[in-house]
Symmetry: C2
Subunit: 407 residues, 2 copies
Amino acid sequence: MALIVQKYGGTSIANQERIQAIAAKVKKFRQNGDDIVVVVSAMAGETNKLIELAKAIQPQPQPRELDVLMATGEQVTIALLAMALEQIDCPARSYTGWQVSIHTDNAHNKARIKNIDTDKIFADIAAGKVVIIAGFQGIDTQGNITTLGRGGSDTTGVAIAAALNATECQIYTDVEGVYTTDPRIEPKAQRLDNITFEEMLELASLGSKVLQIRAVEFAGKYKVPLRVLSSFKDGPGTLITLEDDTVETVRISGVTYSRDEAKLTILGVPDRPGIAYGILGPIADANIEVDMIVQNVTADGTSTDFTFTVHRNDYPKAMEILQASAKTFGNGKVTGDTHIVKISLVGVGMRSHAGIAAKMFQALAQEGVNIRMISTSEIKISVVVDEKYLELGVRTLHDAFELDQEP
Amino acid sequence: MALIVQKYGGTSIANQERIQAIAAKVKKFRQNGDDIVVVVSAMAGETNKLIELAKAIQPQPQPRELDVLMATGEQVTIALLAMALEQIDCPARSYTGWQVSIHTDNAHNKARIKNIDTDKIFADIAAGKVVIIAGFQGIDTQGNITTLGRGGSDTTGVAIAAALNATECQIYTDVEGVYTTDPRIEPKAQRLDNITFEEMLELASLGSKVLQIRAVEFAGKYKVPLRVLSSFKDGPGTLITLEDDTVETVRISGVTYSRDEAKLTILGVPDRPGIAYGILGPIADANIEVDMIVQNVTADGTSTDFTFTVHRNDYPKAMEILQASAKTFGNGKVTGDTHIVKISLVGVGMRSHAGIAAKMFQALAQEGVNIRMISTSEIKISVVVDEKYLELGVRTLHDAFELDQEP
C-alpha cells in the first residue's frame, strides 16, 4: 500500500468530462489499495481569464488582491473534483491552500512554500478519504492569500509529497513523459523511462516545458521520487530520480532547444578586470536575465568582443542599455541578432567524456550547420545557431547520439 | 465622521464598468470624511453558474464542497473592487469570510453567523483604508468554508454593521427604496422615506423582494439602522428603523402580494381537538411550509372545513399527503386551487384601528373582487383572491388608502 501524491494540471481538468475522468482514475488507484492525495490546478484558461479581469480594472494589479482573485481558480476545481469522487462513491475532502495549511513567505504572486501542516491530511487518509488540495496557493503569517507563480501547482504537489513522505509524486500532463527531444521536430523521439533531477532541470529550463523548474529543484532537494505521465493515456511515464552512481557509461538523455533567444555583442571593449560587470550590471538592473555569455580576445590581444544572449522579448531593452554602455566601454559598436536559436545536448556524465563535444560539433558541421556560440556545463553542451537550422540541428544530434534507439 | 457599512449586490457589480462605478461612489463617501466598510455579493449570475457546474457533476452536490465552490464568487468581487479603488488612489483591502473572520455554525449552505472578529477591520479603518468583505460566506469552528444561503450578503452587511456598531448599514439594490406597492402594477406607487422593521419584515416576506428577511430580523434585533437605496441613482432611499412611538395615527405603509400561493381544503373533518395537528403534522414532516390557515365550522356544527395555503411548488406533494389524511380524518374529500394569489395591506398600528379591515373589504367588494380567505396579524391584513384579480386588487387598495399621495 503506497501513499501517492498526484497532480493534475489545467488541461487534465479542463471541463466536466475531464474532471469525471480524473475521478474515475483516482478511484481505480484507491481500489488497488493506495492512499491518494490529489493536487489540482485551475481549469485550463481560468487563471488567464481572471488576470484579464484584473488588468481591465487595474493595469498593474495589486499583488495582494491579484492573489485573492487567482486563488479562486483552484478553489473551484478542488470542490468539483471532490463532488465527482463522492458521486462515484469514493469519499473525498477538499482543502484550499490556507485550509491545509500551506504556509508561504509573503512574496505575493511568487511566494515560496515554507512548511505544510499534515495533521488534517493524515487524519482524512486514515478515515479512508481521498484528500484534494488546491495547488498554486498558500497563506502567509498575516493570513493573506499567496500564490506561487506560474506552474506553482507542480511545486505544491512535490512539497505535499515531501511533507507526507509519500512513495511517489506523480505529475499528470498532456504528454506521456519526458522525451529524448521534441517529437514535433523529430518523430523518432523516444520516451525516457527515467532521468536524473539534474538532467530534468536542464531539459525543463531549456524548453521541454513538461515540469516547472522549481518543482524539480524541490523534488531533488527533498529526494521525492517524481514521475511525469499522461492524464489521457495509461503508461509508465518517466521517473525522475537521484543519479544512479552504478552507471559508468556516459548517457545522453536528450536534445532540447529554445526559440526565444536573441544575441547581443559589444565590440572592442578593453580586456581588463571589471568590464564584464560594467556591461552586465545595467542589464541585470533592468531585470533582464542573461543566458549564455562568451568573451573572445581580438586578434591584437588588447580588446575583446563580448557576446551574450537574452530572451527575445528583452532584446530591444537590452540593446538600448548596451548602446549606452558602448559609449563608456567599447568602441561604440554594438551588433545583435534575433534570428538565432539554442540547441542543447543533455546527459549525466558527459563532462568526463571529452569525445561528446567533438562528436556534437562534427555532426553539425557535416550538415553545414554553422555554430555561432558554445556554452558547456556539467551535464549539457549548448550551441547557438541560425534560426533556420533549428529542426535540422535537433534531428542531426538526435541521430548522431542514437537517441532513436529503444532505451 | 460616520462609519458606514455599504452592501452591494450582484446587479450593482455585474461587470467591470459597474465595479468601477461603485469604486467611484465609495471614494466620494471617503472624501466626505466617512469611514467605509463594503460588503459585496458575487457578480450577477456567477453563483447560479457555479451551482450549475456542481450539479452537472453531482446532482445533489455535497453541501461542504458546494460551499467551497460558491464562496469563490464573492472572493472574485472583493479582489476586483479593491483593485478598482486602488486604481483611483483610494486605499483598500479585501477580506474573505474566513479572513475577517466571520464565524458561523456548521450548517453548510444555510449557516448562521455567530460572531465576527473586528480587529483587522478597525486596524485598516484607522490606517485610512476602505475595508472590503466578502458577503454570504464564513467559517465554522473546524475551519470549513460555510455560506449563509440565498441573499446572505445582506445578512453579512447587517452583522458587520452590528459588530462595528456602525452609524448605518446601507443596502444598495436596483430599486430606489421600499415602495407602497409594486410600481410595475401600480405606477402611482410611492417610495417610503422610512418604515419600521416589523413592516419591512411583512413586506419582504410577502413578496417585495428588496431585502433578505434574515437581514431585516438581524437589523431589528441588534438595532442597526438599515437603509435601502439604489446603486444606480442617487437618492435618500428608505430608512428602516425601530417603531416611532410618537406616531399616534394609523399608518398604512404598503400593499404587497404573492403569486406563489396554492390553496388546499379538506372537507368535513370532525370538530374536535387534535385534528389541526393531525392534518398539518404530516405536511410539516414533508418540509412543506404552510402560510395561511383557516378553519370554518360547517352548517350543522359537527364538522369543519379546514383550508390552508402553501407555496405553489409544494402543491402536488401537499395534495398527495392531504388525500391520505382525508381517509383518516375527513369525509375523504379534498379540494385545491392553484389559481389564487395573496394580497396584503401592511402598516404599523392597524390592529388597533378596526376600521382598516372593513375599509379594505369594502374597497375590494366595490370592484367585484371576491375574497376567498382572510388572515390578520398585528401589522397586516391578507386576503386570498382569484389570480385574475391580482392587479385590480392591488391598485384598488393602493387607491383606497391613498398611498399615491406624497408621504
